[in-house]
């Protein structure tokens, strides 16, 4: 059996944090779907009608400029959800959300999720706490992009991505990474080659492997440690 076919709603940390009786009750409202890299789930201005909880893949949020250029501002994997705030009422997407890494996703209609929240203060609270975590990450990333060097940011991003998908094998093309970092593809190739030379990553077209996380952490800026998904909620005094 394919490993990914064994994944379930509980592979998403937020869903796993829901009160079990509630999850049991709303389970039939969820679809489990596979989505491929490049698939856009919302465009800026779209009504958020579905909530996506990654089980294995990663979703990227992109701010789209007037010239059509898109810059990644956040990534969401199995630690989170996209569109979750629409459970609090009708919401419109500010960013484009696309599948950055193919995978399995638990998807629910926003209206169905809202309905299931009636009388569940704990879930409302979970949404608020998750929003706090996202807001903190956005602040850290804004600072990181302003002051840290490309190589250190690339290392930070690779580590975060590995955490999001729960794997040290990252199916990423240089093109995707160059988009994410807003630099030329050649720059990504040279950075990746120099990291490979140091044994920090293994790089082949369309695929990056992290053989030694500790070494990569040493090369990343401090922002990785600050935002480490396992620890950030606790730092904020937030529990899931």
């Amino acid at each position: 059996m394919d490993v990914s076919s064994r994944l379930s709603h509980l592979d998403n940390r937020l869903l796993a944090a829901l009160p079990p009786p509630l999850l049991e009750r709303i389970q039939h409202d969820f679809k489990q779907i596979g989505l491929l890299q490049g698939h856009a789930i919302y465009e800026p201005g779209d009504q958020i009608d579905q909530i996506y909880f990654p089980q294995s893949g990663m979703i990227s949020l992109l701010v789209v400029g007037k010239d059509g250029g898109a810059v990644e501002t956040a990534t969401i994997g199995r630690e989170g959800a996209v569109g979750l705030h629409s459970a609090l009422g009708k919401r419109v997407s500010f960013t484009r959300a696309t599948i950055q890494i193919s995978g399995k996703f638990s998807v629910i209609r926003a209206a169905a999720f809202t309905q299931s929240l009636q009388g569940h203060a704990a879930v409302r609270d979970l949404i608020t706490r998750y929003t706090e975590v996202l807001w903190t990450e956005a602040q850290q990333i804004a600072a990181c992009n302003a002051v840290h060097e490309g190589p250190a940011r690339l290392c930070r991003w690779l580590l975060q991505t590995a955490d999001r998908i729960g794997s040290n094998q990252l199916p990423l093309t240089q093109e995707l990474i160059s988009q994410m970092m807003s630099v030329r593809r050649t720059t990504v190739t040279l950075l990746a080659q120099s990291l490979q030379r140091k044994g920090v990553i293994k790089y082949a077209r369309g695929h990056i492997v992290i053989p030694d996380r500790e070494h990569l952490e040493h090369c990343a800026c401090e922002c990785y440690a600050v935002m480490q998904q396992e620890k950030l909620p606790l730092k904020l005094g937030v529990r899931f």
Partner: protein
């Protein structure tokens, strides 16, 4: 469009294994300068090595070196974006 390759060298070579399609040598020169700026960012170090010791060498598809310049020639420009 022809392919161009942008290698970095001091005693070692960091190879541009992927290459980039560009219109002509002028476009390759402009591309090389942008990449050099993006690689330098604010400081002159990359993973404990000084960029100033490196130079960029640009090759065409036939393996012919077209031009090169020292990385120290490129002015740093914010975070390269």
């Amino acid at each position: 469009m022809p392919m161009y390759y942008f290698h970095l060298r001091n005693q070692d070579t960091i190879e541009d294994v992927d290459g980039t399609e560009l219109a002509d040598t002028n476009a390759a020169r402009a591309h090389a300068e942008v990449v050099a700026k993006e690689l330098k960012f604010e400081s002159d170090t990359f993973l404990d090595e000084e960029w100033s010791r490196w130079s960029m060498h640009v090759y065409d598809d036939g393996g012919q070196e077209l031009f090169s310049f020292p990385m120290s020639y490129v002015k740093s420009d914010g975070n390269g974006s």
